[in-house]
Structure formats: structure tokens, C-alpha cells
């Protein structure tokens, strides 16, 4: 199995899908010169009509991607979470609502790849982790990969899916190396990760951590450290938030009796909030301790590293939360 960097995994997924299906094309800002790395070499192979550099007009080109998907194209939009704010009308009024509003006539196989650059001094305007806001709005599938193999497999699935999907690409993982299977070793000779299937990353018996995106690695590190103290932690990566695999989470909590949720989004109405509410409603009698949410502090992202480092879930915070569940 090859060691692959997260960004390369994105590139492989797009390249494979563009080779497989002529209706797949990509558009976004500065993608021909691949300033974020994920679109390297696509222009050379696929040409200018399928690799489109756009003006700074998110509302315009998000909408154009949506419109093209209605008539048979499969657009992949490259953007940042923080640039989605200026195109919210297209994402919500059109992408999310069209199919239902038109009684099922519209089919929108459009993918928005939204990079989340947080934790590196990007300050308030470039550090958004906005997936919970989209969970609140019906009509958009939401993917948050945590490692190179899932990144590749989930993006390929997103491109083939017939519904609008936002893939939140965690910038803290862009340089992460991980094993990505060679296509030749896979059934069907391609890596496809289905939506709605959580992954049990570590098995354990004392406490469950559900971790999202970049927080998965922190949860794994927490689990490894606590194992040395004789505490057995199960780590679950939901991989997709819409659809959400609640069975895997509920089964795990039934086994461990304790739940910590690690979520890089702001803590109010976060993905963690929703997962906590599901377990409180449907898994209450399994719980032996209060659910612990470890999410970002409810402040904007400050520039200074001495401040920013206190915002997000990290190993000490997650460890403390696990221990709180065990004290009860």
C-alpha cells in the first residue's frame, strides 16, 4: 500500500473521476496553477474547458456549477469555507432546495470542495469550520474526511452521487501521510467509501470518542495515551455528517456507557451538539456519565498563536473530557 499525502489523495480522486466520466469538470479560483495543491496537473491532462479558473464571483460560479449540474454535468467546485458565505444564496436557495421545491424534477450532482484552514494564523476571515450550519439545512450531503484514504474514497463517491454535496477538507490534514490502497489491490480496482458508514478507528470498552475531521487524530492520540493508563477508549469517525451513521455511535455507547465528542466547529449548535442530542434521546439508558462536548470556544478565531491555540479541541482537552466521564 502506498503512503500518500492528503492533498495527493484529493488530486487522485479528481483525476480518476475526470478520466472516468467526461461530464466531470472542475472550477474555482487559481486552480489551473493549483495554488492550494489539490488540482496539480489537471489542466495539462484535461484542458481549459474542463479546468476553469473563475473570477472572484462565488455567487456567480457556484450558481453556474449548480445550473450545469441540472443539465447533466458533474461539477466539482474548489473553494474555501470562508468564501462560501458570499455564495450562501446559491448553496441554500438553489442547491439545497431545488429538488424538493420542484417536486423531484431537478437532479444536482454538484460537489463543493471547501477547504478549512484553521490553526495556522489565518485569523477570523479564513478559519471557518462551518459544516454544522449546513447540517441544519436539509438538502445537502456533508462529508468531513480525516485521512488520505477516506479523503480519496469519499470524494470519488461524492462526485458520483446525484445530490449536492459539500466536502469539508480539513487544512490541518493537508500534509498528513497515510496509507491509500493501490487501485489494483481493490475490488473493482477503485477506492470508493460509501456515505453514512462511520469507521471505528480504535476499539475500546471504557469510553467512546466521536471525533470529526482534524479532531480524529487528536482522539487517536488521546486513546493511545490513555491506553498506557489502562483506560480503553473507542474512537469513531462518522466520516459523513449527512447522512449520519447513528447506529455505530449508539452501539458503541451501549458498550462503553460514556461519550465524548470532539468537534473543531464552534460549540453552539455544532455537529457535537447534534450527536449529543441523538445519544441523549436514543441512547440515554446506556449512559453512565454526562456526555462531554469538546468543541471550539465560542469566539472568533484570533490571529495571535498564543490565543488561537486555546480555541480548538486538542489532546489535553479531550483527555480531560474522557477522565470526567470516568469520574462519575
Amino acid at each position: 500500500m502506498a503512503q500518500t499525502v492528503f492533498l495527493e489523495a484529493i488530486n487522485q480522486a479528481i483525476q480518476e473521476e475526470m478520466r472516468r466520466d467526461e461530464s466531470v469538470y472542475i472550477l474555482g479560483e487559481d486552480i489551473r496553477r493549483a495554488i492550494y495543491g489539490a488540482t496539480a496537473d489537471l489542466l495539462t491532462e484535461f484542458g481549459e474547458k474542463r479546468v476553469l479558473d473563475t473570477p472572484l464571483s462565488e455567487e456567480g460560479f457556484f450558481g453556474a456549477a449548480i445550473g450545469s449540474s441540472l443539465v447533466g454535468m458533474r461539477p466539482v467546485v474548489e473553494t474555501l469555507t470562508s468564501f462560501m458565505w458570499v455564495a450562501m444564496d446559491q448553496l441554500i436557495s438553489q442547491a439545497a432546495k431545488m429538488r424538493y421545491m420542484f417536486g423531484g424534477q431537478a437532479t444536482l450532482p454538484v460537489v463543493f470542495r471547501a477547504s478549512m484552514f484553521y490553526g495556522a494564523g489565518s485569523a477570523a476571515h479564513h478559519s471557518d469550520r462551518s459544516y454544522p450550519m449546513f447540517m441544519n439545512m436539509p438538502g445537502i450531503k456533508i462529508v468531513v474526511p480525516s485521512n488520505p484514504a477516506d479523503m480519496k474514497g469519499l470524494l470519488k463517491t461524492a462526485i458520483r452521487d446525484d445530490d449536492p454535496t459539500i466536502v469539508f477538507e480539513d487544512g490541518t490534514l493537508f500534509g498528513m501521510r497515510g496509507e491509500v490502497p493501490d487501485n489494483a489491490d481493490l475490488p473493482g480496482e477503485e477506492l470508493l467509501v460509501p456515505f453514512g458508514e462511520a469507521k471505528i478507528v480504535r476499539e475500546g470498552t471504557d469510553c467512546t470518542i466521536v471525533a470529526i475531521g482534524g479532531a480524529v487524530n487528536h482522539a487517536i492520540a488521546t486513546s493511545d495515551q490513555l491506553a498506557a493508563e489502562g483506560i480503553s477508549v473507542e474512537v469513531i469517525d462518522p466520516r459523513t455528517l449527512v447522512p449520519f451513521d447513528k447506529k455505530t455511535v449508539l452501539d458503541s455507547v451501549e458498550k462503553t456507557g460514556r461519550l465524548v465528542i470532539a468537534d473543531p466547529a464552534h460549540k453552539v449548535c455544532s455537529a457535537a451538539s447534534e450527536i449529543a442530542s441523538i445519544v441523549a434521546e436514543e441512547g440515554f439508558w446506556s449512559l453512565q456519565a454526562p456526555i462531554q462536548k469538546v468543541a471550539s470556544e465560542q469566539v472568533h478565531i484570533p490571529y495571535s498563536p498564543s490565543l488561537e491555540k486555546h480555541v480548538y479541541p486538542d489532546v489535553p482537552k479531550i483527555t480531560a473530557a474522557v477522565k470526567r466521564t470516568l469520574e462519575s
Partner: protein, 329 residues
């Protein structure tokens, strides 16, 4: 420009269909047969009908809240449109869209948008697909003078121009955004003047004249199909009725002079087209009246169809969310 007789008569039929559809909607809405907003297109029929007569079924349109005229002009069915207004299962959107969200994907009607300016980038996207694949269709975005101030319009026009997309920006300038006048809100004399900022032709057309609209749009469509890019057409027109049904009861004070309304009503687009057809020997008065009567009859049948169609069942609430369905949360 020599226009085929069939096209002229088709335009007259579709204009009468819209007029009679809207008159019926006003009647049954005030009788309380269905609730919700509805925005009559009366007075503006020549704009959509003239423009859509220049399109094929394989071309695409998007529209706005004043949403009954565009689908009928594109050849949509009045029975399915009326059933949608009644919120019934046989409506275009199975009762999920209502008056402001009619769509017929079988003939290129990609949907009307209640958020103004919002469907314009979508039309640009359909044209982008034609551009990428080398297809020969065009798309047309209907929007009003009010939406001409939306950022989405300006982003769309720039995008379409740099990529030379086969799209027609079709502004229905009825001179009022609800109660706020064109003069108060638009910095240029004509919406069509804005075309020059995006390096595309801008055409100012008499929107009460279906033939003028057809000719202007035909030129824009030919340009689009030839790969020469987008065109902005402004049909100058007037809304004869209120912005939406019932709004007159809540607006504080008049915003249009009675004299202005009376003046524009003298330029009824149906009178103008019929007079032309009769004077040019294309149709007789009797033939024009027969077309009117036939559309009255068709709208009556459509209304009966709507009244007799069942309401959706509670379980239909969860249908049509996804192409690849997922479990409910």
C-alpha cells in the same frame, strides 16, 4: 423580418393563455380557493411570449416570483400549473413549490425562483454546460428591474461574457420593484445600458410588442448559437395589476399614479398584437376572438382539473428530498 404565421398565432394563443390564466387566478384566489402569494403577469405577456417564441423545447429558461407567464410562454401546461397553485399532487411540483416555483424539466423550464436574481447564475450554468460539451442549446434568464441591482446579475453577466456563453439575460422592466420605482433604484436610464460594462450587446425593446420581442430575441439566440456570447435584452413593460394578489390591502398609500396606470393600459400587448395581425392579414378579428375563447375554455378545464386533483398525503412530505435517498435523521 418575415415571421412565420404559425409563430405569430402561437404567440397570440400563449398571450391569451397567460392573460386568461391570470384572470382566473385572481378570481379563485380572491374567492379563497387557495392561499399563498401569487404575482399576476397581466400587462407583461408580450415580453415572455415574444422571447420564448424564439426558443426551442431543448433550450432552457429560469425565472422569478412573477412566475406564471414564463412557463406558459415556454409551452408549459396550464392544468399542471393551476394544480400546483392549488397545492395538489398533479401540480408541476406535486404541490411542493406553489405559485412561485413552477418548473417543467421536460421542456427546459428549470424553475422559477422566489429569491430575486438567484436563478440567473443557474441559467448561466446551463449555458456553461453547452459551452463545455459543445451542445447547441441556449439558456435564458428572466429577471426584473429590481433584480437588475443584485450582485448575482453582475457576476453572471461578467462570467457569461468572459466565457462567451450562449445565454440571454432577459430583463422584464416593469418599472417597479414592489412599490419602489425604477428611477429611485437604478443608476442608469435603462437596464440595457449595463450591457456595455460586460462587453455584450444591450437591446432596449418595446415590451408591449410581442413581435419586437421575438425579433430582438431571435437575433440574440442566433448570436448565442453561433458562439458569439451573451446578450442583454430589456423589455420595457408595465405591470397592470398589483405586485401580488392582496398587496393593495396592506400597502400604505399609492406608489403609482392612476393616470400612469391608465396610460399604460392603453398599450395592452394583446391589443397591439391583434391589431398588427389583423392589419397585416395574418388573422381575422373572428380568428383572434376564437383563440381567446379557446384559451378561456382551456383555463376553465385546467381549473376543474386542479380542483379535482387530490392533496398530497402526509407521507409525501418526505419524498423528493434526495436523488439517492438517505435515512431520516
Amino acid at each position: 423580418m418575415e415571421i412565420n404565421r404559425d409563430i405569430l398565432l402561437l404567440m397570440l394563443r400563449r398571450m391569451w393563455m397567460i392573460r386568461n390564466f391570470e384572470l382566473k387566478v385572481m378570481e379563485v384566489h380572491s374567492a379563497g380557493e387557495f392561499a399563498g402569494a401569487a404575482h399576476p403577469y397581466i400587462g407583461e405577456e408580450a415580453v415572455a411570449v415574444g422571447a420564448c417564441a424564439a426558443l426551442e423545447d431543448t433550450d432552457y429558461i429560469t425565472g422569478n416570483h412573477r412566475s406564471h407567464g414564463h412557463p406558459i410562454a415556454k409551452g408549459g401546461r396550464v392544468d399542471k400549473a393551476m394544480a400546483e397553485l392549488y397545492g395538489r399532487v398533479d401540480g408541476y411540483c406535486k404541490g411542493k413549490g406553489g405559485s412561485m416555483h413552477l418548473a417543467d424539466y421536460s421542456i427546459g423550464i428549470l424553475g422559477e425562483s422566489g429569491i430575486l436574481g438567484s436563478s440567473v447564475p443557474v441559467a448561466v450554468g446551463a449555458a456553461l454546460a453547452a459551452h463545455i460539451r459543445g451542445d447547441n442549446f441556449v439558456s435564458m434568464a428572466f429577471f426584473g428591474d429590481g433584480a437588475s441591482n443584485q450582485g448575482s446579475l453582475h457576476e453572471s453577466m461578467n462570467l457569461a461574457s468572459i466565457w462567451k456563453l450562449p445565454v440571454i439575460f432577459l430583463c422584464e422592466n416593469n418599472q417597479y420593484a414592489v412599490t419602489t420605482s425604477y428611477a429611485e433604484t437604478v443608476a442608469v436610464d435603462h437596464v440595457s445600458d449595463r450591457a456595455s460594462a460586460y462587453n455584450m450587446p444591450g437591446m432596449l425593446v418595446d415590451g408591449q410588442d410581442a413581435i419586437a420581442m421575438y425579433e430582438a430575441t431571435s437575433a440574440a439566440v442566433a448570436r448565442a448559437r453561433a458562439g458569439e456570447g451573451p446578450t442583454l435584452i430589456e423589455g420595457l413593460t408595465y405591470r397592470f395589476e398589483e405586485h401580488s394578489l392582496g398587496l393593495g390591502r396592506v400597502a400604505r398609500g399609492a406608489y403609482r399614479d392612476e393616470a400612469e396606470i391608465a396610460e399604460w393600459r392603453k398599450r395592452d400587448p394583446l391589443d397591439i398584437l391583434e391589431k398588427t395581425l389583423i392589419s397585416q392579414g395574418v388573422a381575422t378579428r373572428e380568428e383572434c376572438d376564437a383563440i381567446n375563447a379557446e384559451t378561456v375554455d382551456e383555463v376553465e378545464k385546467a381549473t376543474d382539473f386542479a380542483r379535482n386533483s387530490p392533496f398530497p398525503e402526509p407521507e409525501d412530505l418526505f419524498e423528493d428530498m434526495w436523488a439517492n435517498p438517505i435515512p431520516l435523521p
